[in-house]
Amino acid sequence: MSRSDGSSRRLFLRRALLAAAGVIGSGPLLQGEQLLAAGVPDAFDPEVPNEEVARILREISAGKPIRRGHLTLDMPLVAEDGRVVPVIIESDLPMTPEHHVRAIHLIVDHNPDAHLAAFQLTPAIGSVSISTRIKMKRTTWVRAIAATNTGEIWADYARVQVTLNGCG
């Protein structure tokens, strides 16, 4: 599984911002990276744009923290045709009866129906590797959020630039 260019670009931006904040230098930077790796909510998560997305996130997380990690949302940086935008969602979380991903939610911030899809899963599928194609109205953040049977919430985000409105 290859990380998209978007991921490395985001990582670069994070590093640049950390540096700009005056925390550059091996010690503090390492600490920052460790925090990111540990899935601590950080200032680089996309801003929640409106009450509807806030409500959807509350509904999914049920009060638990939404942490970045264990989930990869792979999407193009630029989608020329908003009617057909490929999506790949993968996770390294186990799919065993004791510990598994129960649901994956796909949210497109500025679509007319932001909560675009939900995928309810069971251990029988063996792994999380889902792909499909979606419509996007305009340039915005896309959120993939996984909820496990043990109550953990993991997320990944992708900002997709949309040239042609696919929603009308």
């Binding site: 007319p112 995928f119 029988a124 499909t132």
Partner: protein, 112 residues
Amino acid sequence: MAPRVGDARIRVPDHVARGDLIVVNAIISHPMDTGFFRNADGDPIPAYFIRDVVVTYGGAEIARFTWTSGISRDPIISFTLKADREAPLAMVWTDNKGDVFRQSADIKFASA
């Protein structure tokens, strides 16, 4: 001949061994109209989309997808399956008009 609404195909690997993690690919013909577009005469095209997909393996439900018209026309979906028994993998798509479409593929272990 153009496919009709609801025509569906499921693709699974030909050669599967017990316990393999296989990839299942499914596609169904459906306009997935959002309700926001108009036709050539300027009349609105009503929303018409698949909202529910149920996947069963040997009769047991293993996944369920809730969709909106935000899924692209002629929806494709791929996911993995732990092939631990020979049984049919069946999918049922239901749209917002209540029409139900079914397709299945047999998971068979290679004898060779």
